[in-house]
């Protein structure tokens, strides 16, 4: 995302590291909660919010990265998000309609399983945009 000379750890690497950290933390908390159903309600709720600060930091760095990127990179990111956001919206609204039409299996289509599509849509958008300008 950034076009500045490489430092010890480039902004892109920091953003990716934070994203991966959030993912690891999210999966860790999720599996821990699934493996320990007997935990106290308040503790479970508290654990559910543990990954949130890391994601907030990731989001802050991501937005900062876009602000400091050069104009072509900003356009590429905009086009990637312009693909990802409507596709995410389409996925959620279609799932909502299908859920009303038929019984969806919670294990297949709960919030636990739908969110990776948003990353997938963003990566597809990024691929399309980069292909267009390179």
């Amino acid at each position: 995302m950034s076009s500045k000379p490489a430092r010890f750890m480039s902004e892109d690497a920091v953003i990716i590291t934070l994203g991966v950290s959030w993912l690891v933390l999210y999966l860790g908390v999720r599996f821990f909660l699934e493996a320990n159903p007997g935990l106290e309600h308040g503790v479970r709720l508290g654990l559910a919010f543990v990954p949130t600060p890391v994601f907030a930091l990731f989001l802050w760095k991501f937005v900062k990265g876009i602000r400091t990127a050069d104009e072509l990179e900003r356009r590429i990111q905009l086009e990637a998000l312009a693909v990802a956001f409507p596709l995410g919206l389409l996925l959620l609204t279609t799932l909502g309609l299908v859920q009303r039409a038929v019984e969806l299996n919670f294990q297949d289509w709960s919030y636990n399983h739908v969110w990776p599509y948003f990353w997938f849509f963003y990566l597809v958008g990024l691929w399309i945009a980069r292909k267009r300008y390179t």
Binding site: S3, K4, D70, E71, L72, E73, R75, R132, Y133, T134
Partner: protein
């Protein structure tokens, strides 16, 4: 929009990375401008004109890019 960036760059024996470094943008941006896949903003176009010491209109001219790129911009 057509441009003469590649010719001007070759005259000075500058690489795309050289131009990118001088202007604080990525090499990908210079490449996209040269190949007509991306039309630069006015500030960047003026920076390019200043760097090469030519008036803006002598570097950029209206019309489709030579390779037919940047359609839809």
């Amino acid at each position: 929009m057509r441009n003469r960036l590649k010719v001007l760059r070759a005259e000075r024996d500058w690489s795309q990375a050289d131009v990118a470094d001088k202007l604080g943008v990525s090499r990908q941006t210079i490449n996209a401008i040269e190949t007509g896949k991306y039309d630069p903003s006015l500030p960047l176009a003026f920076s390019l004109a200043g760097l090469f010491g030519h008036p803006l209109e002598s570097i950029f001219t209206p019309g489709p890019a030579a390779d037919g790129a940047n359609a839809g911009q």
